[in-house]
């Protein structure tokens, strides 16, 4: 059997820019991107330390899932220290990884971004950034589906931009999102022209969605995320169509960045080598000079447009959005839904929104800048809140795990390694034989699921609750997921390299305890269900595992049969756990 190099060794061999890896055969000689070091971040402190189970639960919310090593490391410290150390970890650029593949192969496509995505999600030392960036990518959506299908560098750069701002300020995030050429192309304010005398009007796409989806939402909110009501008990709309049309004029005259603002550059016949990566810029000749009224603000008409007043109008627009009281509860609640639970209480939303508004949380006083929009304080408030880790579970707890996160959970829990370092897991869109979800491949700007999705005719609906991830859960997808995981748990995932799937695990630690089904289940329980597996679930799995007898005897054939039996016990334990409601709903 082929030996799988440890992740750490592989990364040493295949450091970024460091030339070839040391493997023989297949693609192993390829330079691979360095995703991170395999060593865990040291979070040792003198605070009270979490238990194994508490650490596991926290890491399911704050990372792409726990591994034995990450639980061990976290137990030497505390959650606030872990957050602080994580926020210091340097970012690894997906764009650089894509460029390395481009240099190696000559051409790249979406799968090369996905390689980098999976490599970082599974092995990245900056796990908090990984998980928060993935959450942001589902709120501030651009997608390979559509005009960006060929533009892997632009999408990789966009994802990097989200990662850079994940621990920054939401105002900067809003700026960078609005000016990123991937967003410009995706929501069509790239090359959006001012109105003219023949009846042409500005494209309203970005103006509408930046309000509806990226900042304030449709209805005025209280700080706890509940709807403000008017005198008749009706919700109050945050904007009208006139506001959309007014704001749309601000988003005119933008096209790719570069050395000048000529017409040719605006239209793309002249372009910077990094045109699809660098921020867009204003082109005065295409920018509306008429008065622009939105959300109670009026930017007066100007005689002529200049790059300076284009920038100043953009600042006015984004400041207006950013300072709207909806942003904290609107964005804060969605981040809670991506990381912790689908139906946070109003009090929880209120606490998180307040951390957003003030840039401060008493749960981690040294995290956060004291500025409105501080992402560090917001993230700390979400993950350290008492509601993120209740001792018992009322009926409204938890969230259905996102399919992409499920695969990452498996890979991290069982120390999956990529034999080539390339992590060619690829597109996982298929509902019939894969996850029904891929990073950065949402069908529209509304993501794979909506934060307010109510699955029809369910107990969730009866209770008046939402379950976003149920929107992509149906009779086909559940079968596709189980089939994909059955194969993956046994064989790994990705292309076959030297007779084995590229990304796989030998379950060394699980095999070591496989003779004792209780010990085996305990181990998997800690990693996948945070040590909270229900008795009924445990009994069901134990019955199946115990039915696989481990042959005794000292002959080599008996020994080989025993090893196979142990493997089967491990596969069963992992797969059955991942098929159970205990695992599928994070809580």
């Amino acid at each position: 059997m082929k030996t799988i190099l440890s992740i750490g060794l592989l990364l040493m061999l295949a450091a970024c820019g460091g030339g070839g890896g040391g493997k023989s055969g297949g693609d192993a000689a390829a330079p691979a991107c360095t995703y991170s070091a395999s060593v865990e971040v040291d979070v040792t402190d003198s605070n009270a330390h979490p238990t194994d189970a508490e650490a596991s639960r926290f890491l399911h919310q704050a990372s792409f899932g726990p591994s034995s090593a990450s639980i061990t490391a976290l137990k030497k410290g505390s959650f606030p220290t872990w957050l602080a150390r994580q926020m210091e970890q340097p970012q690894v650029s997906h764009l650089d990884c894509v460029k390395m593949e481009q240099a190696r192969l000559g051409a790249v496509d979406q799968t090369h971004f996905l390689q980098s995505f999976w490599g970082q999600a599974i092995t990245g030392r900056d796990q908090l950034r990984q998980r928060v960036t993935f959450a942001l990518s589902q709120i501030l959506v651009v997608s390979f589906e559509g005009v960006l299908s060929e533009d892997v560098r632009s999408v990789a750069s966009y994802y990097d931009m989200l990662g850079k701002n994940a621990f920054g300020n939401y105002r900067n995030l809003l700026q960078d999102v609005s000016m990123h050429p991937a967003m410009g192309a995706y929501l069509s304010h790239l090359r959006n022209q001012k109105e003219n005398s023949s009846g042409r009007v500005p494209d309203e796409n970005y103006a509408r969605e930046v309000m509806q989806l990226f900042s304030i939402g449709l209805y005025q909110l209280n700080n706890d995320g509940t709807l403000k009501l008017d005198g008749n008990g009706k919700p109050i709309e945050t904007y009208t169509n006139a506001d959309v049309s007014g704001l749309a004029k601000v988003f005119t005259g933008f096209s790719h960045g570069g050395a000048d603002t000529t017409n040719n550059r605006f239209w793309g016949s002249v372009r910077d080598p990094n045109y699809n990566v660098i921020p867009m810029q204003g082109y005065p000749q295409y920018h509306s000079v008429s008065a622009k009224t939105f959300l109670g603000v009026t930017i007066p008409a100007s005689g002529t447009a200049t790059t300076a007043n284009i920038a100043s109008e953009l600042k006015t627009a984004l400041d207006t959005l950013f300072n709207h009281p909806n942003v904290g509860p609107f964005i804060g609640k969605q981040l809670i839904q991506r990381l912790v639970k689908s139906n946070p209480s109003a009090a929880y939303v209120n606490r998180v929104a307040t951390a957003f508004n003030t840039g401060y949380t008493a749960l981690a006083p040294t995290i956060g800048s004291g500025q409105r929009g501080d992402m560090r304080a917001t993230i700390a408030a979400i993950l350290l809140d008492a509601e993120a880790r209740p001792a018992s579970l009322p009926s409204n707890e938890g969230k259905l795990r996102e399919p992409v996160v499920r695969l990452a959970n498996w890979a991290r829990a069982f120390d999956v390694a990529s034999s080539t370092g390339l992590w060619r897991i690829g597109n996982t869109d298929s509902t019939t034989n894969s996850l029904g979800q891929s990073a950065m491949r949402s069908p529209s700007v509304f993501n794979y699921y909506r934060p307010g999705y109510v699955p029809p005719n369910t107990q969730t609906a009866t209770l008046g609750m939402v379950s976003p991830e149920m929107q992509i859960t149906h009779e086909t997808s559940v079968a596709g997921y189980l089939n994909y995981m059955q194969s993956t748990v046994q064989n790994g995932v990705g292309p076959t390299v030297s007779g084995a799937r590229e990304n796989r695990t030998n379950y060394v630690n699980e095999l070591a305890v496989a003779d004792d089904s209780t010990a085996l289940i305990n181990r998997v329980d800690l990693l996948l269900t945070r040590g909270a597996m229900k008795a009924l679930t445990r009994t069901s799995i134990k019955n199946a595992v115990d039915a696989v007898a481990i042959p005794t005897g000292s002959t080599s054939s008996a020994s080989s049969a025993a090893n196979l039996a142990r493997q089967r016990r491990v596969w069963l334990t992992v797969f059955l756990t991942m098929a159970s409601p205990d695992y599928l709903v994070q809580k």
């Binding site: 042409r200 009926s395 029809p456 005719n457 009924l536 199946a544």
Partner: protein, 490 residues
């Protein structure tokens, strides 16, 4: 009440639905009969309704156009001119081959045209199988520019917002609504079916259109039902004998939660989906095997072989053809195609190009043509009615190479029972409102205020489907304010 699996099962038992439930039988197959709220005057024959949803907001202004010179000129001017002069309107000469004259007179002219990519629909219109519904959309009560601006009438929620208007079209309320009008029709008529799970079927992911109170929508893949290998396969992980049996039992009882381990609502909800998946799979597989893709008239033409909408319509046609196996008498289906949010690149997105690549309008037209002919091949065309829907129409104004979110839009109804070859409703003025020359259906930028309500479409179809008059209000909440028969069904 704490949500548990027990509560659901007790509920079923109370309703007497559990009597036939063996340990392996999925409950959803035994729900037939729960939905019959009142006695329906349903005809005995088979009937199916298919919703074809165009996600993104179809630019209807470039789907059905005025052809009379004066009206055409007005249309072209409002869209920045014809494309030969840089606008987004069609050139009039492009429309000659697909023009038509509706039987019912229209105030703005006597001749109209399908866009050139929809030649197949033009033919179906000519053959009397396709009807045009001009300027249809969500309304609470009849509305004009005057009452819209004055705020003197109630309006549908969250106009111009994609996700919400998708929901309003399908379910008469914004995102988060629990019941769609397809699902409501299914609730009322599922008792005609021997297995209620085959009442409301999506070939395109979850759709609120199909959400019912007692029926569950069933999602079918374009190649049929996906079996769970660990449950239906011969061996899990190479196991055999009792170990294999134990493994399969564990997978079944965990994933469907027949052991009632769930303590949270969403745990139980997910397990219910798995349970339906397992329960329906063998029936669907057998049903589809009886109408293979090689069946004459069912095989996709070459240029649609890889088309996702065509594949969805193919599996719908096969399920209709296999109605004897599924025991279905009344079915509501949902299929969809995306990409219609043409803020940009409108012409290249919608229109077939000279190299033979199909635009979205060309795909819709050819797929509908394929589907109608498939129902003819199955001999069931008079019992199947397809209608189109979309988030909203779009602005009449151009933003240079596209258009923006609107409201009312033109749509189609297709089938052997449709009184085709005519336009049902009022074709609005295709021009922008000005003070000097008012257009009372323009809410601004040519975002049309609908003159036909989605309620009227829903009830016209529901009546044909066999829903009794006393239940029309359950199908369409605002129907009292609008006509309950648009007249396009025979």
């Amino acid at each position: 009440m704490t949500p548990t699996r027990l509560s659901r099962r007790e509920c079923l038992k109370r309703l007497g639905a559990l009597s036939a439930l063996g340990s392996a039988a999925p409950f959803a197959l035994n729900l037939a009969g729960l939905g019959a709220a009142s006695a329906q005057s349903a005809p005995a024959d088979y009937r199916a309704i298919v919703c074809l949803f165009m996600f993104g907001g179809n630019d209807h202004h470039n789907m059905i156009m005025p052809y009379d010179q004066t009206a055409y000129d007005t249309y072209a001017a409002a869209r920045g001119g014809a494309r030969s002069v840089g606008g987004i309107a069609y050139d009039r000469a492009q429309l000659t081959a697909t023009k038509f004259s509706p039987l019912t007179p229209q105030a703005i002219g006597s001749e109209f045209a399908f866009c050139p990519s929809m030649a197949a629909l033009h033919s179906l219109y000519g053959a009397g199988k396709l009807a045009v519904l001009p300027n249809i959309g969500p309304l609470i009560t009849p509305t004009t520019r005057t009452t819209f601006n004055a705020g003197s009438v109630p309006l549908p929620p969250k106009l111009f917002s994609h996700n919400d208007q998708q929901s309003v079209w399908q379910a008469f309320a914004s995102e988060g609504v629990k019941l769609g009008w397809g699902g409501r029709m299914g609730d009322l008529l599922a008792s005609s079916n021997s297995q209620s799970i085959f009442t409301a079927i999506s070939a395109s992911g979850n759709a609120v259109f199909l959400a019912g109170q007692s029926i569950f929508q069933y999602q079918v893949g374009t190649s049929g039902a996906t079996a769970i290998n660990g449950i239906t396969g011969s061996s899990m992980f190479g196991l055999s004998g009792t170990a294999n049996t134990a493994a399969k039992q564990a997978l079944t009882e965990l994933s469907t939660d027949s052991i009632n381990a769930s303590t949270l609502a969403v745990e139980a909800d997910h397990a219910d989906v798995v349970e339906r998946s397992v329960g329906a799979q063998s029936t669907v597989t057998a049903a589809l095997a009886s109408v293979p893709t090689s069946t004459s008239g069912i095989t996709l033409p070459t240029n649609l072989a890889n088309n996702r909408l065509a594949q969805q319509l193919q599996v719908v046609a096969r399920l209709i053809g296999a109605r004897a196996t599924t025991g279905a008498k009344r079915q509501v289906f949902f299929v969809s195609i995306g990409g219609f949010d043409t803020h940009d690149n409108e012409i290249t997105t919608l229109e077939d190009n000279a190299n033979g690549a199909l635009g979205l309008h060309g795909q819709v037209s050819r797929c509908m043509d394929y589907f109608y002919n498939a129902t003819v091949a199955l001999g069931i065309q008079n019992n199947v009615t397809l209608f189109t829907a979309s988030d909203f129409g779009r602005t009449l104004t151009s933003n240079g190479d596209g258009s923006d979110h609107g409201w009312g839009a033109h749509h189609f109804v297709l089938g052997g029972a449709v009184k085709g070859g005519d336009m049902y409703g009022t074709m609005p003025d295709v021009r922008l409102h000005t003070t000097a020359n008012p257009n009372l259906q323009d809410s601004g930028s040519g975002r049309l205020i609908p003159t036909t309500s989605v309620d009227s479409l829903a009830v016209t179809l529901a009546r044909w489907f066999g829903v009794s008059g006393s239940d029309f209000g359950l199908i369409a909440p605002n129907i009292a304010n609008f006509t309950n028969d648009l007249g396009f069904m025979s």
